[in-house]
């Protein structure tokens, strides 16, 4: 039962992380590529951490919740790095695709 629950979370995490990485290959311009890693991966890493918390809480007889820390640090760092990347891209005038509205 435990293993089923844990594996469900790991599979969900894997799928979302994969989709996030897929965006890097599939999207046509730099700004659109940014969306994949900042968002799809939060849930991806999140579910893997939930799986880890469940597994070690039951395995080692004692609640382990320090996975929460990884989530907090991820939530703080992911948008900051995305912001810096796009700021740098705007600075060197990276081209966006033609149909983008309000082009900068």
């Amino acid at each position: 039962m435990l293993e089923i629950l844990v594996s469900i979370f790991i599979v969900i995490g894997g799928i979302f992380t994969f989709i996030g990485s897929l965006a890097l290959v599939k999207m046509p311009d730099f700004y659109m590529r940014l969306h994949g890693p900042t968002k799809a991966t939060t849930l991806g890493v999140g579910s893997i951490l939930i799986a880890s918390a469940i597994y070690f809480s039951i395995k080692d007889s004692g609640i382990t919740i320090h996975e929460i820390l990884i989530t907090i640090f991820l939530f703080i760092t992911a948008p900051v790095s995305a912001h810096l990347l796009s700021k740098a891209a705007l600075h060197i005038k990276t081209k966006e695709i033609e149909r983008t509205k309000n082009r900068h």
């Binding site: 979302f16 989709i19 996030g20 897929l22 965006a23 599939k26 999207m27 046509p28 311009d29 700004y31 659109m32 940014l34 969306h35 994949g36 900042t38 968002k39 799809a40 939060t42 849930l43 991806g44 382990t64 919740i65 320090h66 929460i68 820390l69 939530f75 703080i76 992911a78 948008p79 900051v80 995305a82 912001h83 796009s86 700021k87 891209a89 705007l90 966006e96 695709i97 149909r99 983008t100 509205k101 309000n102 082009r103 900068h104």
Partner: protein
């Protein structure tokens, strides 16, 4: 009191992080954590230009609830957008005129925008009045801007301004 705890919230955060890092609530670590919680804010006093004041705790918790829900939805929405046909996406830059003044509020707003549905904050104007946001799929730019202002900026203004 304010000499020992110049930033009570930071102290509380530090002691919680310390206990979580060590994954324990033993007495020794609570003592060690308290020492860190007292020392670090005093040593880093110079870096904190303004005190963090939370004016409305209820709104803050409601905001965090909305935020967590939106992050979950955002992941699914963006995953769908990524898997859909590239040519059906309508990317857009939008300029949001900020009404929020507090600098912590602005940075939390920018972070929230980056973590929620299909938007990444790209640049903040030097006077902190305009935020440039890139949307992955925005059929109606004005509607997206209004949504962000109503959903995230208003509660943050109530909390920090």
């Amino acid at each position: 009191m304010s000499r020992i705890f110049p930033h009570p919230l930071l102290s509380l955060f530090l002691i919680l992080v310390w206990l979580l890092l060590n994954n324990t609530t033993s007495f020794g670590h609570i003592v060690l954590g308290s020492i860190i919680a007292i020392l670090v804010p005093v040593l880093t006093r110079e870096f904190w230009l303004e005190n963090i004041k939370i004016k409305n705790t209820k709104v803050l918790f409601k905001f965090i609830g909305v935020f967590i829900w939106d992050v979950l939805v955002a992941n699914v929405v963006v995953a769908k957008l990524i898997l859909s046909k590239n040519s059906s996406l309508m990317p857009a830059f939008m300029v949001i005129d900020l009404d929020i003044k507090n600098s912590l509020g602005v940075s939390i707003l920018a972070n929230t925008i980056s973590l929620t549905p299909g938007t990444v904050s790209c640049d903040l104007s030097l006077d902190r009045k305009q935020l440039l946001v890139h949307a992955l799929h925005a059929p109606d730019v004005q509607e997206s801007i209004d949504e962000i202002k109503k959903r995230y900026e208003l509660p943050l203004m109530e909390v920090f301004d």
